[in-house]
Symmetry: C2
Subunit: 764 residues, 2 copies
């Protein structure tokens, strides 16, 4: 009947509507409950869903952020905003053994200033290495502003490999920025100082103090900077600031901002207005335009002389060879950013409300036509602002830095005083969107946003204050990185991330899949030099070599013992302990710390690390593994015995605290046989499933097989001792056999869980 059919149809519709939402209904009611309990809005839940990365999931981008005065750099994931690693660069850091093992001490020693160890850095602007203007995922460079230095971090293992100290500067803020093929890493000085390492009074500031810009030569094959092939532009005593390298049509050129072109010298204590007044009085400062390609040719042609042991292009030479030009820019600018197509340069002045778009073509034409408005006091030609400018756009009060979108022409500018991000189009001058920020954003970062091919998607605002954003933790607040979704027309705030250590200034983000770091080293590896260590040691070859009062100990580490377990030396000896981690398994790191001697090593699988120290005082010095590595980690221990000079070791044997009988031995063997049954069951489960489809499980099985091999060796020793009626050692080796079984079981159970949770299938 029609009547029923219509009603039936309507009811069917009800059912259908219910079904349409049924798959979501359960979760929805749960979700609404959570939202109500936690006071979340729908916008919050969307932001949560956009940033949450489930267990075992991967982030899409990896950020390398400077760590400010901590001296480290920081790696974190986007969109989860989870911090993955602090990598120590200029500051000793014991977890990584950095500045504690001889190998990394040698890296830090490269950065000595006036022969002195420097134990911190003020890191500012990290840069990824590039090929053809895009990130290649191989290296990160980072500068130290306080003691002008540059460091190289290898993304193969996330370790600092090299530090170089600038031969001319006493301060360097404007690094690191790379040329499109990482031919050079740019580093500009900040506070002018004499190039000669001696006292010069401030009265001679204009004549004797100098700024500058160093182009550090980088060798992508060796992964090292080459000071001997690097060169520096002498610059006036302005405060040079950030840089960027030209790309595409502007390839071969570099751009460097400056402030305090007033060359003001403060002295508030003597009644003079302070630097902040004198350094911001003029309406404009100067962008420095340098032709590095032509400079490189001059260096190669032997036409540049060395000063302080390094190539220096004097202002006189730069003027003569037409290598350097100045262009006015809005006062006290910060970021200078070359557009992805290389055609424009964007400058934002912190005390202005405009972003300034310079045309590279116009700059080149002015240079070609020698169309200069004059020279600065040092004779450097000045291209007028009118000549070089394409347009200026009112973006807000205190623009600071620009980063690019994947959409052509679209750029984001951080606005310091207004505390906002402005999205605009530098090709049309149109403002597209603004978003308030909490609070006072410094730099900002889009995904691969300073390359030839920005990815868009996300933006991070590097905020300088967190005031009311997080639970309070005392007068020193964390910084705040705010993650913003820029995939739509309007910017949407997703996440506030506190930075728990250090003050990041600048960050760069790379596609995560460009990074393929290793999880282990070749056995016996000096990771800082990337070569086999002369101090490497294989299992069973551990030894002590004494020459006079210099003692070299070649040892090994494996779950869960250190060989040797006793080190005997004499008061006054210089001791070098060289330890090789014999593990091949991922994440099986061992540490090594010792009482009283500032020894703390981090020894990843395959690594050889060394600690050298003198022993001043007779005594007993326990050492142990500092990285939780197995159930018997706490028993991974030993003693260094420092004997008084002339002391003769007694021949007496150790008196065992516990004696074992044949019955003890047999009980242990019975346990071991029962344990082996458990292992066999786990092995049965694994091999009856398609475990070879799971790389993690394959590596766990390999490791478990190794451990079972060790168990077999201990079993043999135990049986030999038993056969000789030495039940003391028979029992102890039987227990060691069991310890290896426990390690095997641990790995097997982890593998089994992984298979169960990841849908492994039974095989015939």
């Amino acid at each position: 009947m029609k009547f029923y059919s219509r009603l039936g149809g309507a009811l069917l519709l009800v059912a259908l509507v219910s079904m349409m939402i049924s798959s979501f209904a359960f979760a929805e009611s749960k979700l609404q409950k959570v939202m109500k309990e936690r006071g979340l809005t729908e916008k919050d839940v969307l932001a949560a869903a956009k940033t949450y990365v489930p267990t075992g999931g991967r982030d899409e981008y990896i950020v390398c952020s400077s760590g400010g005065q901590s001296g480290h750099v920081i790696f974190y994931g986007i969109p989860s905003m989870r911090i993955l690693k602090y990598v120590a660069v200029f500051t000793p850091e014991p977890w990584q053994g950095y500045g504690f093992d001889d190998e990394s001490k040698a890296v830090l020693a490269q950065g000595r200033i006036q022969g002195k160890d420097i134990v911190f850095g003020d890191t500012h602007h990290p840069a990824f290495s590039e090929t053809d203007g895009d990130y290649n995922g191989r290296y990160v460079f980072i500068n130290d502003k306080a003691n002008p230095r540059l460091a190289v971090i290898d993304l193969h293992d996330f370790e600092t490999k090299q530090i170089v100290a600038n031969p001319f500067f006493r301060s360097a803020h404007g690094g690191c920025f790379v040329t499109p093929n990482t031919e050079y890493v740019m580093e500009a000085s900040q506070y002018a100082a004499p190039y000669k390492d001696e006292f010069v009074p401030l009265n001679d500031f204009n004549d004797e103090y100098r700024g500058g810009l160093t182009y550090w030569k980088f060798n992508m094959d060796s992964g090292r900077l080459e000071p001997e092939n690097s060169f520096t532009f002498e610059m006036p005593p302005y405060s040079q600031d950030l840089c960027d390298a030209g790309k595409g049509p502007s390839y071969g050129w570099g751009f460097t901002n400056s402030f305090c072109t007033e060359r003001y010298v403060g002295g508030i204590e003597k009644g003079r207005p302070p630097y902040e007044a004198g350094c911001s009085s003029k309406d404009t400062d100067f962008m420095h335009v340098t032709n590095w390609k032509k400079a490189e040719e001059l260096v190669k042609a032997g036409k540049v002389t060395k000063v302080n042991g390094a190539y220096l292009i004097t202002m006189e030479q730069a003027i003569k060879e037409e290598l350097m030009f100045l262009i006015p820019e809005p006062k006290s600018p910060h970021g200078v950013d070359v557009t992805p197509d290389g055609l424009h340069i964007l400058v934002a002045g912190k005390l202005d409300s405009h972003a300034w778009v310079y045309s590279f073509e116009k700059i080149m034409k002015a240079i070609k036509d020698k169309n200069f408005e004059g020279t600065d006091p040092y004779g450097l030609p000045i291209i007028s602002l009118d000549t070089a400018l394409e347009r200026s756009v009112n973006v807000g009060l205190g623009p600071l830095h620009n980063q690019f979108d994947s959409v052509d022409g679209v750029v984001y500018t951080s606005i310091y005083v207004d505390s906002q991000i402005t999205k605009w189009n530098y090709k049309t001058g149109k403002i597209l969107d603004t978003l308030p920020i909490h609070y006072n954003v410094g730099h900002l970062m889009t995904m691969e946003g300073d390359t030839k091919h920005p990815d868009g998607k996300y933006l991070v605002a590097l905020n300088k204050l967190s005031i009311d954003r997080f639970n309070p933790v005392g007068p020193l607040h964390p910084q705040n990185h705010q993650l913003i979704d820029i995939s739509g027309a309007q910017m949407e705030l997703l996440y506030d991330m506190p930075l728990p250590l250090g003050e990041p200034h600048y960050a760069v983000a790379i596609k995560a899949d460009k990074l393929q770091p290793t999880v282990r080293y070749k056995t016996g590896w000096n990771s800082r030099k990337d070569e086999k260590s002369p101090f490497r040691c294989r299992a069973g070859r551990e030894k002590v070599v004494r020459e006079g009062n210099k003692v070299d100990i070649y040892g090994t580490l494996i779950r869960s013992h250190i060989t040797p377990e006793t080190i005997e030396v004499y008061e006054g000896d210089t001791v070098s302990i060289h330890l090789t981690n014999l593990e091949r398994a991922q994440d099986e790191v061992h540490g090594f710390a010792m009482y009283g001697h500032n020894v703390q090593l981090s020894i990843e699988p395959g690594k050889t690390a060394s600690a050298t120290f003198t022993v001043d005082k007779a005594g007993v010095y326990p050492y142990y593994c500092t990285e939780f590595c197995s159930a018997l980690h706490l028993e991974m221990q030993g003693y260094m015995l420092v004997m008084p000079k002339g002391y003769k070791p007694q021949d007496a044997a150790i008196i065992d605290g516990e004696k074992y009988t044949k019955a003890d031995y047999e009980a242990q063997v019975a346990t071991n046989i029962a344990t082996q049954d458990v292992i066999n069951q786990v092995v049965g489960f694994i091999t009856s499933h398609n475990y070879k489809d799971f790389p993690i499980v394959v590596s766990l099985v390999e490791d478990a097989t190794d451990q079972l091999g060790f168990a077999e060796e201990a079993k043999t020793k135990s049986e030999v001792a038993a056969a000789e009626g030495d039940f003391q050692n028979a029992m102890l080796w039987a227990n060691q056999w069991w310890q290896y079984q426990v390690k095997t079981a641990d790995l097997g159970l982890r593998a089994k869980t992984h298979l169960e949770q990841n849908g492994a299938k039974k095989v015939k």
Copy 2:
């Protein structure tokens, strides 16, 4: 009509169903889109919603986690799992100026070992101070295993205030655990060593090496440990491990685990089985039960003598006075955990599959009845396992640590080898739930889970491996803390958090509202001693005091200049720079770094910090503020000039790089008048709203008013100079006036944004 009414009813139903979901429909479709794009399940979205904290939101709990070999402790929020702060304790850390300023160097110097500066720590078990068995939110204690020391962190400002070195031990893992009113902080030794600070051969291990347990006296009023009122129990050369203090009925007693009661001495390099075999051969080790209340009375009565300058209760005295007893426990245990009601003690042995529930009543009865199964080799009475045990429960392979739920009897145990959490009831012995963990959990933590009143709600598994959990960052992986929802019957995994620096071992979580840290210091404050600094300085009172070759500089810091801006000293001088941060505004921190001298201070509002160093070499040494503080932060700079010995400063004035005219001055004044109009508009907006209801805005307005006051001072100086026809200084001071206006505007705009975003209302 019936027909239509029925159909209409059905359609109404459709409409109703649709309406019921309509409020959610928009977000849901967006949410489903995000889920699809990001591959999230409904479970993932629920977990995201349970952990996400929106911008400006607060976490419910604050965790204090040890930082392992980093030497720091780590504070993070639950449920967001965002890390808020690394607080430096045993390792110098430049962001905090820790180990860089004289004040914190004095704290680190308290922890010298054999007169030597120790530059790292191996932090293990933090403990919050307690009143009547509950956290009081005042202090955190943390131990160093490598060089046995204890530190006190004040939660008033999250700074390390004190370090004490143990007078007897050479290694101490078993700290920190507090008695219910923080009368004492317990610290147990780990690797036995001679008490006398000299060489003793391992042959004498049983007779001359000793373990121990120190009860450090704490004074809650002064916030300091009192070594002079602390006492140590001499213990056999077992490896003492973790501790817990009795509470309620067991108040006055302490419990300490141990392993290697075999007293085994390894020597794998000489063919002896390694420590791991010999230290785990016996089926049981010993729980040490100590009567600290009675011991305290003996100390107070003058019946305990001092050794190494500290009270030592010898084993002989402990036996005689019935202060210490042993009870067998499953071999190689780790956690020893007193139940919230104080009636039971739970022990888990890493090489066993049971958790062991001991009855405090049974232990007391055995002691009263002198019901001992014998003595250990040192004469300490042993209570038999049967006598003391309530029950044992099979919880999984490798139980390690127990934490309590808010539900009576419910406990969570971390299972190392099986990589899981087991939820069970220690009163019934019933297993309630298990959850797999990724991977190999060490300790675990529930909210206030070791107090008299655990909160339940969340559990964190402190996992030791992260292998496949995160984007790879080289051979050294982060650790992984997994957040688990325990509010329901079944445990639910919510979040994986990587630890980017250090290896946490143990963590404690406190209700966030128990912490009320300050955001500023009293002006001129030595934060490490918590007293007025003798080196404090007020604005305008900056001075240089020279005595022989010792130079003291009393300076100040304020947005955006350092007073003095020039420091003149002679080669060979010892220089002390004392700087006071004049700011009162929250988060207005200034830093101070100098080239070549390892100077890096962090000076929060009100703090006075000092840097003392010798100047070896004549030269020019720039210094600057390292904490981004304002738009003119980069201009917050100065020079230390180190003059050669005998050099006479020239009288010549600084030659200004730029000259200003009356026209320049007048243009600047015009700008300032225009800027004042903008400020007035912002002020108008703020004062026309109920801004006094917003504490953050009130403090911003106060700060802005201060800045405007400074602007007024600069304006006056500018007008005085102009009246004298000195347009150079008139212009510079006019610009300084403008700089203060910009700072005022910055604050005003931040306040305005806050009001707009937080629904401020117009007032009449």
